[in-house]
């Protein structure tokens, strides 16, 4: 019925309601205008401006001079940038799987009927709505090598704890622990909604056939949760490649502009490198080029994930 009516409607619209439609259209544009303008000014135009600038050696004030692909060639002989990419990759490869596995476990546990379930959900979600600065300040205090909470607890069981954030061998791990802790909450919410979308009938049928709890988890829950897991994985990977604020706040800042030394080498991520080149040293062109390389890397990885999902994501 409705399909059959459709062409008629299209034909009649311009003829009958043209004045009204024009007015509606204008109002429509008026309402989306602020968002579109905002998007243009704050996102679309800067994106293209940074693409143009990535071929220049602009310092933020002098004449823009275009230097072709020089920035991109320079990047691959820039030991600092290569190291930053390695650190970012390592960070991603470690934190993303751990965060997702823990999120699934937490989501499944908090999907049962139990006393105080909402309180637990709130506790796990709190880090996601806490300001990163506050998170960093509290963790810094807990990580304090001489009188922090963690080393105090370790000392009660006779372990001499390390200098969590002032030893270059531990600082990246310390950052990753916070990232996992802070990442669980948001993923948990997504996965919970995925879990609640699984119909009870499957579980009932499986129970009747005598499936154990573990069998139900592996054969029903996990396969039907894969779309949610896939979504969480794509967003977590993108987020992990762009990590900046945690690193920025946990790496000690030295006096005289920009921190330095082994601690920063151990934690400098790709976005931190962009920030440092752009805003500490005013190499806007080089920073733009780095941003675009990072974009291409993230884009390719996401595309690969989209392609590979066919093999493991089950849509009902």
């Amino acid at each position: 019925m409705s399909l059959a009516k459709e062409p008629q409607l299209v034909l009649s619209r311009p003829a009958v309601k043209s004045a009204l439609r024009t007015r509606e259209m204008l109002w429509g544009y008026f309402f989306i205008g602020p968002v579109v303008i905002g998007l243009l000014i704050f996102t679309i135009i800067p994106i293209f401006a940074s693409l143009v600038l990535s071929f220049s050696n602009w310092d933020g004030s002098s004449e823009i001079k275009f230097i072709g692909l020089h920035n991109f060639f320079q990047m691959f002989s820039d030991k600092v940038y290569i190291k930053a990419l390695k650190v970012t990759t390592f960070y991603t490869v470690v934190t993303v799987p751990i965060t997702i596995i823990l999120s699934v476990v937490v989501a499944v546990l908090l999907n049962r009927k139990m006393r105080g379930r909402d309180v637990y959900r709130l506790i796990f979600f709190l880090p996601s709505v806490t300001m990163p600065v506050a998170i960093a300040v509290v963790w810094k205090w807990m990580y304090n090598g001489s009188n922090g909470l963690i080393n105090f607890l370790l000392s009660t069981v006779g372990i001499d704890g390390p200098n969590w954030i002032t030893d270059e061998r531990f600082i990246l791990m310390s950052v990753m622990i916070i990232a996992v802790w802070a990442g669980i909450g948001y993923n948990m919410i997504i996965l919970l909604s995925g879990l609640q979308g699984i119909p009870d009938t499957y579980y009932e049928a499986a129970s009747l056939d005598g499936a154990t709890g573990w069998q139900r988890f592996v054969n029903i829950t996990v396969p039907l949760l894969t779309p949610a897991i896939f979504f969480v994985m794509v967003t977590s990977l993108i987020g992990a490649f762009q990590v900046f604020d945690l690193v920025f706040m946990l790496t000690p800042q030295a006096t005289g502009g920009g921190a330095g030394g082994v601690l920063q080498d151990a934690t400098r991520t790709a976005v931190y490198s962009i920030y440092q080149n752009g805003f500490t040293w005013f190499k806007i062109g080089y920073a733009s080029a780095q941003a675009w390389v990072l974009f291409v890397i993230i884009f390719l990885i996401t595309m690969a994930q989209m392609y590979l999902q066919k093999r493991w994501v089950h849509y009902e």
């Binding site: 940074s50 762009q242 900046f244 005289g256 920009g258 601690l263 976005v271 805003f279 920073a287």
Partner: protein, 422 residues
């Protein structure tokens, strides 16, 4: 994270747009209100806002053809913002400038050269410490010194009394400092519960003063090279290193990264610390009559590091004569006295510092006397030269590089950056 990227692209957009449509747009610096010329004046220090407003009020009452408008631009991005508007040939007529940023702004032609005006009015630059005038000079004078800071050795009298150690004197040498620090260190088992000194990793307050006391210039006169890897340079940094890792009379670099050494001093866990004059008020507020200050201990010679803020003019100001008139007022004794009474900064105008010295019952005179022996804070065109300095100093402080190795790398890497600058 995404927000950071958006912010970054936003900044790029704004600055790009500003350059592209540069001279076309008009700004407050050309404006007139009621027959008066508007002079816009920027500063980033919120704690000085009341004083700045008072200065502008006084000035506007004194004459009838200029309307001086003070504008607070607080935040870490003050110099970024300034660079952006000046590049577009806009911006304030008069602005606050610090030493590290001056060479960059001057070399881009953003700043007003005062030489002709100084000659015409026979305005005397002798009213300010020579090293400060030098800090804001290149091929002429570009800054009217506002205030300055030098470094002193703050000490906790209570801890000295308890350990029975005599207070520091102006005759102290590095050796006196070292032996006193050892005596003031209290160990309970393996770890110290009180340290004699905190050898804070601060280039301005600790490393540069020790270098100049050993005869090492922080940077060459032409701002194109440094020589930290000389035996004298290594000796100075080795001395500081030994306080941490040999004598253990100072908390080590890792401890001071976890725990702010300034707070360790304020809470009475450290007996001595080298800090700038701007710390006098916070230390006094925290420790009251328990704290006092003495001149830095000497070695080859007595020396110090001086840095200060100056008022610079916009080279593209629409009314340069009126700008100069305001600058002369900002550099006057009257304005200096007004600032001294706030107690937070030492005014640069010679002879007005007494008001600051009397603001607190400490031996603040040493900060004024130190200007006679002080070298200016090292600055160069490319701010990146400081990156190897902070990088390897951090590594030395964390005991990852020896002072000799670290200083060698600083010298090589910083000189490479400096040599590439125009």
């Amino acid at each position: 994270m995404m927000r950071r990227l958006v912010m970054a692209s936003l900044f790029i957009l704004i600055t790009w747009g500003a350059t592209a449509c540069g001279s076309g747009s008009s700004n407050a610096d050309g404006g007139k209100s009621g027959g008066k010329v508007d002079i816009v004046w920027w500063f980033p220090a919120k704690e000085q806002e009341a004083t700045m407003k008072k200065i502008a009020e006084d000035f506007n009452k004194k004459q009838d053809h200029i309307n001086l408008k003070p504008q607070l631009n607080a935040g870490a991005d003050y110099y970024t913002k300034l660079q952006t508007v000046l590049a577009a040939k806009n911006g304030p007529d008069i602005m606050w400038m610090n030493g590290p940023n001056f060479p960059k702004f001057q070399s881009k032609g953003f700043l007003m050269n005062y030489d002709q005006k100084i000659n015409k009015d026979s305005f005397s630059m002798d009213n300010y410490p020579a090293s400060l005038v030098k800090l804001y000079s290149k091929d002429g004078v570009y800054g009217i010194p506002k205030d300055y800071d030098t470094i002193g050795l703050f000490y906790n009298k209570e801890l000295f009394d308890k350990a029975g150690v005599a207070y520091p004197t102006d005759k102290w040498t590095w050796d006196d400092l070292r032996s006193a620090a050892l005596k003031l260190t209290v160990k309970s088992g393996k770890t110290a519960s009180q340290w004699g000194i905190a050898a804070n990793l601060s280039a301005q307050e600790v490393v540069y003063p020790f270098l100049v006391e050993n005869g090492v210039q922080p940077i060459s006169d032409d701002r194109k090279s440094l020589k930290y890897d000389t035996p004298e340079g290594i000796e100075a940094v080795q001395f500081l290193f030994d306080l941490m890792y040999k004598d253990m009379s100072s908390p080590d670099g890792q401890y001071m990264t976890d725990n702010d050494p300034l707070q360790l001093f304020q809470s009475g866990k450290v007996a001595m610390i080298m800090s700038g004059s701007w710390m006098a008020k916070p230390y006094y507020d925290a420790l009251k009559d328990k704290v006092d200050v003495q001149a830095l201990p000497s070695h080859k010679k007595s020396a110090n590091i001086i840095h200060g803020v100056a008022w610079v003019g916009n080279a593209n100001a629409k009314h340069p004569d009126e700008v100069w008139e305001v600058l002369k007022y900002l550099g006057s004794k009257e304005v200096a006295m007004l600032q001294a009474q706030t107690g937070t900064v030492i005014p640069a105008f010679n002879g007005t510092q007494d008001a600051w010295v009397k603001a607190m019952p400490l031996n603040l005179k040493i900060f004024i006397d130190s200007t006679q022996i002080a070298e200016p804070y090292p600055t160069a065109f490319d701010p990146e030269w400081e990156t190897p300095v902070t990088t390897h100093l951090t590594n030395i402080w964390l005991n990852k590089e020896s002072p000799a190795d670290g200083l060698k790398k600083i010298t090589e890497e910083a000189n490479a950056v400096l040599a590439a600058t125009k």
